[in-house]
């Protein structure tokens, strides 16, 4: 049996055993639609969450993790002090690498200020050391004290002054993405629950008749549960597919490699939205079961 046949067999099973549940009607359509709408929003929330997550990781990596040490010393001592600073850095925990910038690199950095016609050697340019952190980073104050003691001409500039807001922004964006994912997921579950409950309440007459002709609770409940779970699943698939299509077609979704690559999924992230329909179905399953059992408990 190939997968398509398998899916078709589930859909057909529905038309056989569950004929006792009204096949269409507003309540079923409501379940279908709310599952679809919520799946659609959830895909977007997920895309937002992933995009902000990516952004946070990138900013975190590229900006937060580097700092600079400036050695301002008489020309004769500069090389020695640079050496000393590098030695201190190599024994500081939390530092991945440290390296003195070459004159060319320093010139490139200063170009905006002096233009490219200036000979660096003519300027008292301090030697710069680029420090890359690792793990949780290093202890800024500790390092500053050690440098003060061992390398008098060194000044540590950990970039945090002007970069911290960027990092904060990135993490606040990421929190925002996660928050909307949670909010929309929660609302999705609540709406599907309520739609299934309302749909079931509208079918009180059906439940009463079935009970009167001798159907057991589990027979009645499972007939409803199958139908509504299937509807939620189908709705979820429809919503997810439309949502993924929309995300794919969004301008800027294609990786531009810019500062913020835009809303979208990348690579294996496209697999994530696929969990939305099954989750909707699970929610519908428990909601319908609960509602059916509650309705049944009121009957003898």
């Amino acid at each position: 049996m190939n997968p398509i046949q398998y899916v078709m067999s589930i859909l057909e099973a529905d038309t056989q055993a569950d004929r006792v549940v009204p096949p269409t009607g507003h309540t079923v359509r409501l379940t279908l639609f709310s599952a679809a709408a919520m799946a659609f929003l959830a895909v977007f929330a997920m895309a937002l969450s992933m995009a902000t997550g990516r952004l946070a990781v990138r900013w975190g990596d590229e900006l937060a993790r580097s700092s600079t040490i400036r050695i301002s010393a008489p020309a004769a001592q500069e090389a020695a002090q640079t050496e000393a600073a590098l030695r201190v850095l190599s024994t500081t925990p939390g530092i991945k690498s440290a390296r003195a910038l070459t004159p060319e690199e320093e010139q490139a950095l200063l170009e905006p200020w002096f233009g490219n016609g200036v000979l660096l050697s003519a300027l008292p340019v301090p030697q710069l050391i680029e420090v890359i952190e690792e793990g949780d980073g290093y202890d800024v104050n500790g390092l500053r004290l050690r440098l003060q003691a061992e390398v008098p001409g060194a000044t540590l500039d950990d970039h945090s002054q002007w970069r911290k807001p960027l990092i904060r922004a990135a993490y606040s964006l990421r929190r925002l993405g996660t928050l909307s994912l949670l909010l929309i997921g929660g609302t999705m579950a609540a709406i599907i629950t309520l739609a299934a409950t309302a749909a079931l309440a509208a079918n009180g007459q059906v439940i009463r008749v079935l009970r009167l002709v001798g159907a057991t609770d589990s027979y009645i409940a499972s007939a409803f549960v199958r139908r509504f779970t299937l509807r939620a699943l189908i709705g979820g698939v429809i919503g997810t597919v439309i949502g993924m299509g929309a995300v794919f077609l969004l301008p800027g979704a294609q990786a531009e490699g810019g500062f913020l690559t835009g809303l979208g999924f990348q690579g294996w992230q496209w697999l994530w939205p696929l969990i939305i329909p099954p989750m909707g179905a699970v929610v519908a399953f428990f909601a319908t079961r609960g509602a059916a059992m509650r309705t049944l408990r009121g009957l003898r």
Binding site: R19, V20, P22, P23, Q205, V206, R208, V209, L210, R211, L212, V213, G214, A215, T216, D217, S218, Y219, L296, R300
Partner: protein, 224 residues
């Protein structure tokens, strides 16, 4: 089959029925009468476990209703065919599927096509078998309800006003059907206002007439 032992019932206000004792034996044929609102429907609902007595005991096939689990009760109901006063159907299924519904939900395998067709023929619904319940006339619905009640060949048949909306000839026909089932050993209890029906039955079968009056169940005399 069904035993009531000094049973009482109240919907919350005053007692509607009290001190009711009755034994429905296999093969018995009973009528139940009483003024409108005296508790006939309530009595029947107690007999198939839809309501639970507030005092005394109701035993179905030897089991106290209070001791039955919900599933036991459902399975027991398949042995009791009920014609409800307000005939309730699944409005989205055609008539013949509604009549076969007790078989469908009992999951005992398919309906015997021939049996179903014969029954539908007998209650005069052959032409309307594919209609949906809302498209039926009042009498047609009542006949369908009777057909649904007996499709499983239950041991007991409880009918609440089964001829309230059908003409005299049809009611005779339905009565004949019930009498025939009774001859096969089924217990029959019919709640009705129709004294003419009771008289007609008495000439064909040994029927007893119960009457609810002043919250009590009495056997009516020969004055009917």
């Amino acid at each position: 089959m069904i035993e009531l032992d000094n049973m009482a019932y109240s919907y919350g206000g005053g007692e509607l029925l009290s001190g009711v004792s009755l034994q429905l034996q296999p093969g018995a044929f009973h009528f139940l009468t009483g003024p409108s609102g005296s508790g006939k429907t309530t009595f029947l609902r107690l007999c198939y476990g839809d309501l639970t007595a507030t005092a005394g005991a109701v035993r179905l096939f030897g089991n106290d209703v209070r001791d039955l689990s919900r599933d036991d009760l459902a399975i027991m109901r398949r042995r009791i065919g009920v014609v409800h006063q307000d005939c309730q159907f699944l409005d989205h299924l055609p008539l013949y599927e509604n009549i076969a519904l007790p078989l469908t939900v009992s999951e005992q395998g398919g309906v015997e096509e021939a049996h179903l067709r014969e029954l539908i023929q007998w209650v005069g619904l052959a032409k309307r078998a594919r209609a949906l319940p809302p498209e039926l006339s009042g009498g047609e619905r009542q006949r369908a309800a009777l057909a649904r009640a007996i499709i499983m060949s239950p041991d007991v048949i409880l009918a609440d006003e089964p001829t309230g909306n059908v003409d005299w000839e049809m009611s005779q026909r339905l009565l004949t059907l019930l009498i025939e089932l009774n001859r096969l050993g089924k217990t029959v209890l019919i709640a009705t206002h129709d004294l003419a029906l009771i008289r007609a039955a008495k000439s064909q079968v040994q029927a007893r007439v119960l009457r609810i009056a002043n919250r009590k169940l009495q056997f009516a005399g020969a004055d009917l």
